[in-house]
């Protein structure tokens, strides 16, 4: 959003001053800028002095932010009233993000990333008008955010709310500032310096064949698990819900229509078709209510979870082999459109409605390891339950994918990488607020497995009241009424996070727009957009995994490397769908309540990917900075490694059946051997056999994940030590960056240009148009 030149008068004194100061600085970077151009970077001494000049207004502003944040944290963490207002969550998070962004991310920039705006980015030196395109920083911020944020930050915090609001809040906010955003920023920056190379390629270059291969295999497995568990969230949200099945099912014909429209009728009219799609989507939600209200509709669209799971598996295969233009691309537009809209709306609603939260800071389950929603103690399981929003390894795949190819100037990586992740963290905070704004009794009735709640409103109410939670007393009528309000037949044991978030969102939104009459609409609106994100992630994840598999097999059978070779493509797609489909069916049929046992595996997988990404960052950072600054990467890496390895070890070695997969396996196997016909929550022998099978698979998956990650971490530490030794001995380190090229453009680094940046922009705008590259503006 550059300011355009407003007139003819040229402020020659100003620009010549910059040119002259510029000529004396940064001459050691080996870059020879075009002398006919204005400078492509704000002079370092000018920027430093602006950063270090503390005017009274600036001091007052940051003091106010710090004070407000401090008060908000005090209200959340120290004051123990009956209730706490949701607005304090907004203040605590936003003020902490601002301070982290202004101060900590600048430390990372100064000592670790060391961006140089005199250097061209891949979008400049590889520009092709298609994949490598300089993109306005504010647009790219939105684009990157839409690519990293999905259903993850909406689900994890809801499940973690079992332990009260405070542990989750602290981890989401502090975790993002010190870990999640650091990972995203560094991966984005290092990938950008390498022409937009993927995490897998960087791992191979930096960690060698063993580390690189382990990282690749781990990434592939982790993608399978993540897709399977996201699919499980959708299945749980749609099971026995005719309204949900109809409206989410309608997204498929809507997307197909949009695809055909964009391909044949009006190519390139993306905004237009997105608006049409949005209107159709709203019609599908409203129509879903009407259809579910009829007898035939309720009968036809009332599907059990196993049927939906199989439907999703078949859908997943077809969607992944259909051309992108027909289904994936149009639904991606719809999903992005909804994402931005919903998040803005939810933020507004929370600020306007400011719900009172009655959930305690630490619940009865914070100090125990047998919670009904997820089992395991606060450490380490809270930190794996909330992955997205605090630290998400999956982002490393995005930050080393499209985004680095679109960055205009090196300094903008801080805004896009670090800032984009702060934004996702804020989404997680809002999801947490929405989930804890509903009654705790209803929360537990919704999120505990059927084995505990019994599945009916009477048994669920009796079970919740028997838990002895303070302030919790619900009746069967409350549960029935809530289900009726949101237009569902039942809300008991609707685990998976999505339905709880939808109830919370409906609860907040109806106070903002529409009243109770609109609750059913808002509930299904929320289910719809979560399903939309997830279906897109399932499609795209299957495709990416298929290509990874094809490339891997291609090392042995070269024919597989030809991506257009149909049999190979279909076979690899089928293998990947079968892999996640098996985990999905396992989760759906699990007598222990699939999401409750599988969600930790999702978090562990995601955090292990984060550990892998941070390992690669550490190995790279060791070559370019002093030992004393490596803690910036080492601390989050150590934390992620300790959390995930401990969590994996609990899952593998814990003797408590509720926590350890193999302990559970042994308990059920023994019961079977003793000839029992029911054991724990498994009521039949077949169910017991299913538990034995599932726990064995889950246990071995944990072992494989943790082994691969430990290999990657060890190779990274070895690479780091080698780099540090080389530096100490004065030897050069092998550098995998693309060679530096002189930049020929300028753009500001942050949302709002600084005074020096504005001067430089004016200078560029007055530069003869023919001599500068085209502008990257978006309108």
């Amino acid at each position: 959003m550059g300011t355009m030149p407003d007139g003819t008068k040229r402020d020659s004194t100003n620009s010549s001053m910059h040119s002259s100061t510029h000529a004396t600085a940064q001459l050691d970077d080996g870059i020879v800028p075009d002398p006919s151009h204005p400078p492509t970077s704000v002079d370092e001494s000018v920027r430093d002095s602006a950063d270090r000049t503390w005017t009274p207004a600036k001091i007052a502003l940051w003091a106010a932010i710090a004070l407000l944040g401090g008060v908000a944290w005090f209200m959340l963490a120290i004051i123990r009233g009956e209730t706490v207002n949701a607005i304090w969550f907004v203040f605590a998070s936003v003020c902490t993000y601002l301070i982290g962004y202004r101060f900590y991310s600048k430390v990372i920039e100064r000592y670790l990333a060391k961006p140089n705006d005199r250097r061209a980015t891949p979008a400049e030196y590889k520009a092709d008008g298609k994949d490598y395109v300089r993109t306005d920083r504010n647009v790219l911020f939105g684009h990157h955010f839409a690519a990293i944020a999905g259903a993850g930050p909406l689900v994890g915090p809801v499940i973690a709310a079992q332990m009260g609001y405070l542990p989750g809040t602290i981890w989401i906010i502090i975790g993002v500032v010190l870990a999640g955003a650091v990972q995203d920023y560094l991966v984005l920056f290092f990938s950008m310096r390498r022409g937009g190379r993927s995490l897998g390629q960087m791992a191979r270059e930096e960690l060698g064949v063993i580390g690189g291969t382990a990282a690749l295999v781990a990434t592939l497995l982790i993608m399978v698990i993540i897709v399977a568990i996201l699919a499980l969230v959708v299945v749980n949200a749609l099971g026995e819900s005719p309204w949900g099945v109809f409206s989410v099912g309608m997204t498929i014909p809507i997307a197909l229509f949009m695809g055909v429209y964009l391909r044949f009728i009006r190519p390139g009219k993306v905004m237009e078709v997105s608006l049409i799609g949005f209107v159709l989507l709203m019609a599908a939600i409203i129509g879903g209510g009407a259809v579910a209200g009829t007898e035939w509709g309720a009968a036809f669209f009332h599907l059990d979870k196993v049927t939906i799971a199989w439907g999703l598996i078949i859908y997943g295969f077809i969607a992944a082999i259909l051309p992108v233009w027909l289904l994936l691309a149009p639904r991606d537009y719809l999903s992005t459109f909804m994402k931005i809209g919903v998040i803005v709306m939810l933020a507004l609603a929370i600020i306007v409605v400011r719900p009172e939260i009655s959930v305690p800071a630490f619940s009865e389950y914070a100090g125990r390891d047998n919670g009904p929603v997820f089992s395991g103690a606060l450490f380490p399981f809270l930190f794996v339950t909330i992955a997205c929003g605090a630290l998400s390894g999956f982002h490393a795949l995005i930050a080393s994918g499209t985004t680095p190819k679109l960055i205009e100037k090196e300094r903008q990586t801080r805004l896009i990488g670090y800032g984009g992740m702060l934004m996702e963290s804020f989404v997680a905070i809002m999801a947490l607020v929405a989930a804890i704004s509903i009654d705790r009794g209803i929360y537990f009735a919704m999120n505990a497995p059927v084995a505990l709640t019994g599945g009916t409103v009477e048994t669920a109410a009796a079970w919740v009241n028997s838990l002895g939670l303070s302030g919790v007393n619900i009746t069967a009528g409350d549960l029935a009424q809530t289900a009726k309000d949101v237009g569902e037949q039942s809300i008991v044991s609707r685990s998976g996070g999505a339905p709880t978030l939808a109830v919370g969102l409906a609860h907040i939104m109806q106070q903002f727009i529409g009243g109770t009459a609109m609750m059913a609409f808002w509930y299904h609106f929320a289910i719809m957009f979560e399903a939309l994100f997830i279906l897109t992630a399932v499609d795209a994840g299957t495709r990416v995994a298929r290509f990874m598999l094809q490339d891997s097999i291609g090392n042995f059978i070269p024919k597989f490397k030809e991506h257009s070779w149909r049999p190979g493509a279909w076979l690899c797609t089928a293998i990947m769908v079968a892999a996640w489909g098996a985990v999905l069916i396992m989760g759906v049929t699990d007598p222990l309540g699939g999401i409750n046992t599988l969600f930790p595996l999702f978090g562990i997988a995601n955090q292990l990917l984060a550990a892998i990404a941070l390992s690669v960052c550490l190995a790279i950072a060791a070559k370019r900075t002093a030992l004393k600054y490596l803690w910036i990467v080492a601390v989050p890496l150590a934390f992620a490694a300790v959390v995930t390895i401990t969590a994996s070890f609990y899952k593998i070695f814990s003797p408590v059946p509720a926590v350890g997969y193999f302990a559970n396996n042994a308990a059920f196997a023994k019961a079977l051997a003793d000839g029992k016909t029911s054991f724990g929550t498994a009521k039949t022998q077949a169910a017991m056999e299913a538990v034995v099978r599932n726990t064995m698979v889950q246990g071995w998956l944990s072992i494989i994940f943790v082994a691969l990650s430990i290999i990657v971490i060890i190779t990274a530490v070895m690479a780091t030590i080698k780099a540090l030794r080389n530096t100490a001995a004065g030897l050069p380190n092998a550098e995998n960056e693309d060679p530096a090229r002189a930049s020929r453009v300028f753009a500001p680094a942050g949302f709002v240009p600084t005074a020096a940046e504005r001067d430089l922009m004016t200078e560029w705008n007055q530069h003869p148009a023919g001599e500068r590259l085209e502008k990257s503006g978006h309108h």
Binding site: A151, G268, M271, A329, F337, I340, F394, D539, S564, H778
Partner: protein, 63 residues
Amino acid sequence: MNAVLAGFRVFAGYLGGVLGADAYKKYLEHHEASGHTGPPLTEREFWRDRTDRQDTSPQGRCC
């Protein structure tokens, strides 16, 4: 009223940018600026090429 309209335009332009609706425009700018040898792709060809290339280089979406 004009200010509201202008504000809406900026917002729509931003959203379009995030969705990637301006990709063809940017391709033309690049084509123009890079010393082209032939005529640019038409809008229809460009979008076909764009989605068809995604078939062979998929991008993950996050969880």
